[in-house]
């Protein structure tokens, strides 16, 4: 075995330039897979983290039909108090649920007595909301960002673009005028207690008030709300917990209609980023496929050339009694070594690039989000690249190696 490796190596080094060229091609491919995988996944989890932790939660429950018209933030498709109680007891008894936050979401006109603009509001219990979306308060850049009390009755958090656009400062008053579900209009004055970064939404004009204020503004007498956002203990269990909850919710049915009253969605179904995230995943797959084809084509090419150039030599070693299986092993080892060591080199390059990205803390803006990439060394990606390159190298060398081992010594010798 030692001598087979030695001979394979010497044969690779014999065509230095060709070997180096092929090796660098494979190494670049492997490095690309690792960097792309690392950065792509880091980007995804960063954005998903921002979305779920500051705004969406991991899962949301609404009255059936709500998400279908979510752009209008309808108040008449709401979760009644009784239903809320049932859902709450369901969530309280589920050990996988870390926190949940009942919300009333509505649209309103906001006025500073001079200008008026349409805004979207989420009315919350601050302590529940902070547990469900822990990074929300991090986005409050000015004013009260206490997770227990960032909104209290009478106060409002507005986003930066409203603050600058309408020239509103902390402590200023703002009037909200909203139409309740019966169609009558009501207004209330609020004091600005916090200014937040723009939250990703249709226009980024999303503000927060206390849920009790929303009830007075919208004249909601009973305890109905429009949505419940849920945070899980373990994000990775999302799909199974989602499925479990969905099943349990089916059993809560309307009194008159025997149909499920509520609907449940994961963040993916609620955020347009989910499709971007899927595209990133797809791109990672494409890069992997490109790597596979690079390895396949280049190893196949090099090994076919090697076999062709060495027909005479194959004839010699076959004549003097080298078994066909050994000849096969020689060429397989050659292709495998080329693939394997190129992949090792590529992994090292890839890991260095990732460490470098970590060091310079690559930051960029994605929509309204400030993304700071901190890719982990993608162990799975490195492992994948190594394994796939070795497998593909073996496959690609197989045909040329077989050809070499099947040569008739007499015919091969005539080639000299």
């Amino acid at each position: 075995m030692k001598s087979i490796i030695k001979i394979a190596w010497r044969n690779l080094l014999r065509y230095t330039r060709r070997t180096l060229l092929t090796a660098s091609l494979i190494a670049v491919g492997v490095a690309m897979v690792i960097v792309f995988g690392g950065v792509g996944n880091s980007f995804k989890s960063e954005v998903i983290g921002i979305l779920t932790n500051s705004n969406l939660g991991d899962i949301q429950i609404h009255k059936k039909g709500y998400v279908g018209s979510i752009d209008n933030l309808p108040l008449d498709i709401s979760i009644p108090e009784k239903g809320l109680k049932k859902i709450e007891s369901l969530l309280d008894n589920n050990p996988e649920i870390k926190a949940y936050s009942p919300r009333i979401r509505f649209g309103a006109m906001a006025s500073n007595y001079v200008q008026t603009t349409g805004m979207r509001f989420t009315a919350v219990y601050p302590e529940k909301e902070s547990k469900t979306c822990p990074s929300l308060v991090e986005r409050i850049k000015e004013g009260n960002s206490n997770p227990e009390s960032f909104v209290s009755p009478g106060s409002i958090v507005i986003p930066l673009n409203i603050s600058t656009g309408m020239n509103l400062k902390l402590g200023d008053n703002i009037v909200l005028v909203a139409t309740n579900k019966d169609g009558s209009v009501n207004g209330m004055t609020f004091k600005i207690s916090g200014i937040s970064e723009n939250i990703l939404g249709p226009q980024g004009k999303d503000g927060y008030i206390h849920i009790d204020d929303a009830k007075s503004l919208l004249r909601i007498e009973n305890g109905e709300i429009t949505e419940i956002a849920i945070k899980l203990n373990n994000f990775n269990k999302l799909s199974s917990i989602y499925a479990g909850l969905k099943n349990e919710l089916k059993n809560i049915q309307g009194e008159t209609t025997a149909k499920p009253m509520f609907e449940i969605h994961t963040w993916e179904e609620l955020s347009p980023f989910a499709s971007i995230s899927k595209i990133v995943t797809l791109l990672i797959m494409v890069v992997r496929l490109v790597l596979i084809s690079i390895v396949l084509i280049s190893i196949l090419n090099v090994m076919m050339m090697s076999v062709y150039e060495r027909i005479g030599e194959i004839g010699t070693i076959a004549s003097i009694g080298t078994l066909p299986s050994k000849i096969l092993a020689l060429f397989l080892t050659e292709g495998l070594s080329l693939g394997f060591f190129s992949a090792i080199a590529g992994s090292i390059i890839g890991i260095i690039i990732i460490l470098f990205i970590n060091l310079v803390k690559l930051k960029f803006k994605f929509g309204m989000m400030e993304i700071s990439l901190a890719p982990q060394i993608p162990t799975a990606e490195v492992f994948f690249a190594l394994v796939i390159v070795v497998i593909i190298s073996a496959l690609a060398s197989l045909q040329p190696a077989f050809k070499a081992s099947k040569m008739e010594p007499v015919e091969a010798l005539r080639h000299v």
Binding site: I4, I7, E313, I317, I320, T322, L323, P324, L413
Partner: protein
């Protein structure tokens, strides 16, 4: 003892529609420990004959027995093993492996064909390199050697497995006369030292005198068998 026996051996090549009879019925037997030569013009069938004896090819008709083994029954693997165990080869173009040093070229059959333990291996290689006069050049690569030197290494490689039979097809065709005589002389010397049977083919009339037994081939048939009582005399 008879090492090689051919009984009415015929061999034809088929290329497309054309049938070329290369050997037209050859019956000879070669005793062990002899220095044998096939002479004849180009195209007379020498290579074809050596390939059959060397277990590299199979006859169209007739029997070829080498060391009491019928070669036409063997599959690829068996014949490869048989060659590795019993036959050494010396080629017209030397056919050393360019990526291996002189030492490693001689070592190759002991590692990749037979499986000789390290100590014994070293001893045999050094002994042979000493005998063929290449011990000083053992770390050189084939590209750094002259033709004569390459063929000396090839002789060492053919003998290192201690074969019963060494076959050499036109071993001197690519060497100048002086070197050719030296290589043939070396082969003769090795034959005596190791008591190995040597069979070589050549169309060079001048070196045939070195052989003990001389077969002349013409057009696929053996036309003459000569025995030379004092081989080596002719050339000197």
């Amino acid at each position: 003892m008879e090492l090689v026996v051919l009984d009415n051996v015929k061999k034809s090549y088929v290329t497309g529609e054309v049938l070329t009879p290369a050997l037209k019925g050859i019956s000879i037997s070669i005793e062990s420990g002899k220095f044998v030569s096939f002479v004849g013009p180009s195209g007379s069938g020498k290579t074809t004959l050596l390939n059959l004896i060397g277990c590299l090819d199979k006859p169209t008709e007739g029997k070829v027995l080498v060391a009491n083994t019928e070669i036409s029954q063997m599959d690829r693997k068996t014949s490869a093993k048989f060659r590795g165990d019993n036959i050494g080869f010396i080629f017209q173009n030397f056919n050393l492996i360019p990526i291996l040093t002189v030492y490693e070229n001689v070592e190759y059959p002991l590692i990749m064909v037979q499986n000789v333990p390290t100590e014994k291996r070293k001893q045999r290689i050094n002994d042979l390199l000493e005998k063929v006069g290449m011990i000083d050049q053992q770390n050189k690569y084939p590209a750094q050697l002259s033709g004569g030197q390459k063929q000396r290494v090839a002789v060492a490689r053919a003998l290192v497995t201690e074969p019963k039979l060494v076959l050499a097809d036109e071993p001197t065709a690519n060497l100048d006369h002086a070197t050719a005589y030296k290589v043939i002389g070396l082969m003769h010397e090795m034959k005596k030292k190791f008591d190995t049977t040597f069979i070589f083919a050549t169309h060079d009339q001048k070196i045939v005198g070195e052989a003990e037994i001389l077969y002349t081939l013409e057009d696929g048939l053996i036309t003459q068998k000569q025995e030379n009582k004092k081989p080596g005399e002719v050339s000197k």
